[in-house]
């Protein structure tokens, strides 16, 4: 016997199916209205997780693009400044100096060249100091709230440190003064009573003064050829820049020997400071996979270093000849030398100065090349930033596409589903209106 289908069963099934039909119709209606395939994790957990991943990447992408745009602006400022330094100032000045020096111009021109170089050097300092992005000095390394350079008329300071550091020679490596040697080239012994011939009574050179002190009092004074670690005052532990603690206590009243070493250590300390500052980094997250290694240091290439310390742009320290590496100082010194030439004849005050001028001319050319390299480097980095921006834009587009594919409905599909569900719903309603009306009772008299 077939299963009985009772009125209650029919109603119960009807309710269940009408409910389902309503839910389906409602769901497809929502999809069409919201354009979304799902509105909760539960509807499609896998797609929802993927969609969140994509959305997180979109948020980050937006952040990276903001950062990228900001850094690009800084680099534009930096590039413009370096461009000015390189082409308008250094290049022109260097070329002029090169031409005038080679063509051996007359004295007036040489003095004028000196003035030009001095002015150019000042302009370079001004240009570097005025390169600002918002309130930030772009060439100040990690101290963007303060200008990078200070010229006090004698010394060029980068963030308070002498740019020309490194020129003070190690006393332990200095040659013994000629007057302290006999004819055979041997050191004349010091007995405190017999002084070597030609020994001055006093010298401005601390090293020479130390020898003088030694000859005068070999018992108490220290022989300058010895390194301070071998003998002499307890210098104590060195700070992070290699400057011993005791150096801070050395005053003008100290012996020439101590002052000599203090001067050396301070100079080396400044050099170390410059080196530290030249390596300063300001790493920005531009979506390159910011990551640290096991030592807690940022992995190179995972962040973008936006720091542009001016000393890296223009050079710092001295070369083996004691000449400055900094283009401004080279120009300043050249300016000084040329300005001191005879206005009429153009003769250099001395042969050493002429030799120095020649060396510095070569140096200026090299500095010029270095500046161009630095400018090119900035340019390359700026190009990278532009490319990165393009990459980010493209990535944003891909992400948006991914998101669209994951979350958004296909309108045609969604609308046809809606129509189908609508028909089903209407049909269900129709069934409902006629379900109870037809039974045997309706046909009974």
């Amino acid at each position: 016997m077939a299963m009985r289908v009772t009125t209650g069963m029919a109603m119960s099934l009807y309710r269940y199916n009408l409910g389902n039909s309503t839910v389906k119709f409602n769901s497809s209606m929502n999809k069409v209205m919201t354009h979304r395939k799902f509105d909760s994790f539960a509807e499609d957990p896998t797609s929802a997780v993927q969609a969140w991943r994509v959305r997180r990447a979109m948020v980050d992408n937006n952040s990276y693009r903001n950062n990228n745009s900001d850094v690009t602006s800084r680099f534009n400022v930096a590039f413009a400044a370096m461009n000015t330094v390189t082409y308008d100032l250094v290049n022109k000045a260097a070329k002029k100096a090169d031409i005038w020096a080679e063509s051996d111009p007359t004295g007036g021109a040489r003095v004028q060249l000196g003035q030009t170089l001095t002015n150019t050097a000042d302009s370079v300092i001004q240009t570097m100091n005025s390169a600002k992005y918002s309130d930030h000095f772009v060439f100040s390394g990690t101290d963007e709230m303060n200008p990078p350079f200070l010229w006090d008329g004698e010394t060029l300071y980068y963030r308070g440190v002498n740019v020309n550091a490194g020129g003070v020679k190690n006393p332990a490596e200095q040659p013994v003064p000629s007057w302290a040697l006999d004819d055979a080239g041997n050191e004349i012994p010091a007995d405190g009573t017999t002084m070597p011939d030609g020994m001055p009574t006093k010298s401005d050179d601390l090293y020479e003064q130390a020898w003088i002190d030694y000859y005068k009092d070999p018992t108490n004074a220290i022989k300058p050829t010895l390194s301070p670690n071998d003998q002499g005052m307890a210098w104590g532990e060195a700070d992070e820049f290699g400057v011993p603690e005791a150096v801070k206590n050395v005053t003008d009243q100290d012996t020439a020997y101590n002052r000599m070493w203090a001067e050396y250590y301070n100079d080396q300390g400044d050099l170390a400071r410059l080196e530290k500052m030249s390596k300063e980094e300001q790493n920005v997250d531009l979506g390159m996979g910011l990551m640290k290694d096991e030592n807690g240091n940022l992995v190179k290439g995972s962040a973008f270093n936006r720091a542009l310390p001016a000393i890296n742009m223009l050079g710092y320290g001295v070369d083996e000849n004691g000449d400055p590496n900094n283009v401004v100082l080279v120009m300043k010194r050249l300016g000084e030398i040329f300005s001191s030439c005879d206005y009429e004849t153009g003769d250099f005050p001395s042969g050493e100065m002429e030799e120095e001028a020649n060396r510095l001319m070569d140096k200026l050319k090299k500095c010029n090349d270095d500046c161009i390299s630095v400018e090119a480097e900035i340019s390359t980095k700026a190009e990278y930033l532009q490319a990165n921006d393009e990459r980010m834009k493209l990535q944003a587009a891909y992400l948006e596409e991914d998101r669209y594919n994951l979350e958004e409905i296909d309108p045609a599909d969604a609308i046809s589903t809606l129509m189908y569900d609508y028909y089903c719903y209407n049909a269900a309603l129709k069934v409902g209106t006629q379900l109870l009306s037809q039974s045997l009772i309706d046909y009974m008299n």
Partner: protein, 892 residues
Amino acid sequence: MAVIGTFSSFTTARLAIYASQASLNVTGNNIANINTPGYTRQRMDLVSLYSYGTAKFANIYNTNIGYGVLTNGASQLRDPYLDIRYRDENTKLEQNSEWLDGLNQMSRILDEVGLTSENDGFGVIEAQLGNLKDALQKLANQESFQEPDTLVRSEAETLTKYFKQAAQELETIYNNKKLELDDSVKEVNKLLTDIRDLNDKIRTQSIYGDKALELRDARNLALDKLSGYMNIDVTYSMERIDQFTEIEKLTVTIAGSKGPDGQPIKLVDGIYGGQISIPQKEPVMNPNADASKILAAMDKAQADAEAKHAKDQEPWKTDFKTAKADAEIKAKKDAEDANPLNTGVWAEKIAAAEQKAREAAEKKYPVDPDNPDPDRQQKIDAEVKAAGDKIRAQRDDVIQEAVDTAVKAAEREVESLRQAAIKAEVANSQDVADAINEFGKYLTVDANGNTTGATNELYKKDGSGVIQVDEKGNPIYADNVKVYDNDKFIIQVEPLKDERDRLMVDPNTASKRSETVELGDNVLSGKIQGIRELLTEEGEYSSKQDLGKTDEARLSDDPNAAIKRGIPYYQKALDSLARQIANEFNKMNQMDPEVVYQTNKSVIDADGNPVPGGDPDNLQAGESVDYTFLDKDKNPLQVDGKDVTKSRMDALQETMDEQKKIMNSLMTYPRDPYITDEEAAEQMADAQEAWDAANEELLACKQAIQDNGLKDPLYEHYNGGVLFSNGGNNNDPNNITASNISIAIDWAEGPVRVLRTKQPDFYDKDGNVVTNSSRFDNITDIIENYDKQLDYLAQEIQPDAEQSRAMFHGSFREVFTAISAKLGTDQYATAGKVSSYELMTLDLDNDRMSVSGVDLNDEATSMMQFSKSYAAACKLLTTLDSMLDKLINGTI
């Protein structure tokens, strides 16, 4: 007699009319109840009336035919097997529906798919986590020391508000579910009472021969409802009422359960019904519990005692004899005194009887003067005496009756003493005590928490055996019973009682009465279990004890607890995330104070005592450097009159760690070493107090350093400190959860900022500080850390959690997604199950309705059928009438 008499045919017609009428009534009742929930369609049972046997001298022309139709009562059309299947599925449906309801409610908080404040689908907490990172990027890139970190702070504050809001909403769901559990327990109890009462009514009706169909419908409906709350088995058996009558008895048990007696746990048994409840404490059950062993010991003790105190044994033999004799003598004397023969009532009665007899005898023997009887007086006297003796005999009977009663009373008194002696013997039986100690239901412990044995008495009772209650009316647990707080909402079935609160006899329990049965964690299914699991399941945060991996077996043990995730799991997962975010930010935004602030160095030994003359730069074995922090005048900083030193702060931190360990061990079950609840609570309070004191002092030291400490000039820029705290009015970074995470007050008010760098400045050669005013490497580190894949350990939040491996591994945002995804996946799977159970339940209900439901077409057909048969019976009547009319009036 199978011969129908002439007028009997009228009876046939009358019965037919009655049957049709009754059937039509049943049809009407069916139609009337077509929409009544639980109504089972009825049918009038019609039987043909037939007389068995053959009359020996019957007319040979008569044929054996029936006498018509009888209505044998209405019956229901119902298939009990479909009921069983329907209820099984209904239990699963309701459990999963409840679970789904909980998940749905939580998903409104944690599932942010398609949700957003700006209609862009980026979520709320998720978006805020992104906003915070973006604010950090902006801070790194654009701001400087001089500019405040307002944007980061405001984004962080919004994030904390979202966390708190989510935690609060989860708490609300939890509390609502707790109320729902209470309501469900009440509803179940109401249903159990209804079923018990219906059983009682049906029983009574059945005794009177009524089928009580409507009551059965009501009972079935109640059983259907009950099946939604609990997994039940319904069985029908026959109960003997008297020598001739057996009636049906309905028993409801928890399906698949096994009580202490090895039988399914009963909820209702005929006219006895239990109630379920959630006790305050969860007792530790004796794994060796066995009531039958105790019963056997009791039976033996009873037999021994009865043998020992047999009536024919001394002292009872003498006691009985003496008591009887004494009672007899005393009663006889008392009765005779109370019924004097020569005075009072009896004397009057005798006199009256003798007078009456005399008068009667005198009438009987009249004086015949003609023939006087010489024996007349003698005869009269004899009759008078007989009448008097009859009354005297009555008096003797009364006296004897009084004596008998007194003797019986004396016997009963001795017997009750004997029974009491037997009872006392059994009660004091060492064997019974030993059996209870070994096989009792609950474990007992001594003051040190060591298991001493077992008992059947869970609650403390007064001298008269009444359970003692506390001020809230909750029963007080016996001191020697090991109990835990019932935080797993363990359910118990209370003893079965009838409607007059009389306990059901249960020969299988130690008390031989129905007893309380505690239900294990997984005994129940259905709605109650669904809510319980939502309220208790902690997933990966489950402890060893929760998983039943310790030596101590508890009712709440569940080996599968680690994969069940209810509300507490999601609360704790959110706590994990909030704490991780807070801890990471706090850690990255602080430096060791001795690095940043100026100190006086000194030397301390391994015990932290100062070493006089110790050289910090030349430490000897066991020595270490201590730092005393200085104030702005270069004097030692002081808190509570003592110098603020690194060793002091380290010691405070150590104290806190130690106290935390103690608290964790106290929270871990089973406690090691075992201690009582009171002691544990006391130790917990002590540890908490010590921890609070140390924390307060440590925070005060840190605050003093931050507010008044003298910074190293190279760290003048340092403005790090605690960013997130456990309250908006403090800087306490401990015990942060989603519900208390706040912006620390110092960050809110300004002294503390997001630390841009941990690098020191440096001096130039003249001793001037060269600053790094725009350095932001620490912010870059924080950003890097923001997306770092970190481990999330359950123990961080739940110290006794069993799982030691990370339950989440990912960045903050990934973990939030992972939490939501777990919820979503569970929801997805449960929705599928609910849908399938719903369909299955509907199918089975339809199957039931197919048998039991009312169908209009059916009923219309029946209506026509019975209407026709009614008309036909009437026609039969008129036909018979006309036949007889013809026979009687037309023939003669």
